[in-house]
């Protein structure tokens, strides 16, 4: 049975150094529900360390949670990897860890808090999550796909850390599943302003770093469940699934 899902699949938690401390798992889930979202995606910079806690909070509060990570490629392009399977996400996490160097300085970049499902801080991540990995954008996308995930280029309409700012346009042969438009532009505006979007599927997520930003923009899709698998089908327009932007 097909249903409609409001999806904001690019949210940060307090694990991202640039996100507010208020972005705890439970607080995020409650805010997302308040905003009428049906499914959220957790994509912290170069780490999936808080995904399990958000999933637990989501289960308790009745909100679907998709696990993900926002990988920074060596060209400083941000790519979202979204996964149905926690194990695949953890494999992606291991690959990132092998290719990420440096130690965080909380005074310069912000705290990186690992939380439990009740928003209690249980540890601080010490790696420099804001840094770039040594993986090229092509390698990042390829690896996400090998692990069964969905690869979305983050905020292509922004002037930093985007596929368009760093590399100008979508590299030939890059099997990117969608391009994300930030809350700066509507999908229609971005299509007009950025001719490089032509021929690619566009989605819109909030990239929230603060609670009040959650759900400021989202993508609505039709499918049988709020999963990556169904979202992919909707992007491809398969089996009557569709994106309703």
């Amino acid at each position: 049975m097909l249903a409609t899902f409001h999806a904001d699949l690019h949210l940060h938690t307090c694990l991202s150094p640039c996100a507010e401390e208020e972005m705890g798992p439970l607080a995020i889930v409650r805010q997302a529900k308040k905003k009428g979202l049906d499914v959220i995606g957790i994509c912290d910079h170069n780490s999936a360390g808080n995904v399990a806690a958000v999933r637990q909070a989501g289960r308790r509060e009745g909100l679907a949670v998709i696990g993900g990570v926002e990988v920074c490629s060596e060209e400083e392009v941000h790519i979202l990897g979204l996964f149905d399977e926690q194990e695949s996400l953890l494999n992606m996490q291991r690959l990132i860890e092998e290719n990420l160097h440096g130690e965080n300085n909380p005074e310069l970049f912000g705290q990186q808090s690992l939380c439990d499902q009740n928003d209690a801080v249980v540890a601080r991540e010490t790696r420099l999550l804001i840094g770039a990995t040594e993986l090229s954008v092509d390698e990042v996308v390829e690896k996400i796909h090998q692990l069964g995930g969905l690869a979305v280029a983050s905020h292509v309409d922004r002037e930093s850390f985007s596929l368009f700012s760093q590399l100008g346009f979508v590299p030939r042969g890059l099997q990117i599943d969608a391009l994300e438009i930030s809350p700066l532009h509507s999908v229609a505006e971005a299509g007009d302003s950025f001719p490089q979007t032509k021929g690619y599927r566009l989605v819109s997520f909030s990239d929230a770093h603060r609670l009040e930003e959650i759900g400021t923009t989202f993508t609505t899709f039709r499918g049988i469940s709020p999963s990556v698998k169904e979202f992919r089908k909707a992007l491809l327009g398969e089996d009557e699934r569709e994106i309703l932007n």
Partner: protein, 114 residues
Amino acid sequence: MTVKEMAERAELEVLVGADGLDVEVTGGYAADLISTVMANAKQDNVWVTWHLHPNIVAAALIVKLSAIILVSGRQPEQETVQRAQQEGMPILGSSLPAFEIIGRLHGMGILGTV
């Protein structure tokens, strides 16, 4: 000054496109945001960059640059080499970091657009 003369005087290694070095260099541009290169670099400029990605060749062709110069001994990706060969876009390189390369070029009279 041609790309060939510039490469010799600044001691840049020709990594790709040795037969396309007779173009007159109009000036230089430096950036690692390819979007800004496409927006601001001028025809027959040389472009100093850290990037190795194949998109540098396409960007250089769009702006009609005379050559790409890679810094810090960085070696282009295989696909970048192939595309540069196909399209006849010279890629030069140096073990020097960007600031030193640009300093040399500027001292030789290759200037940015002000």
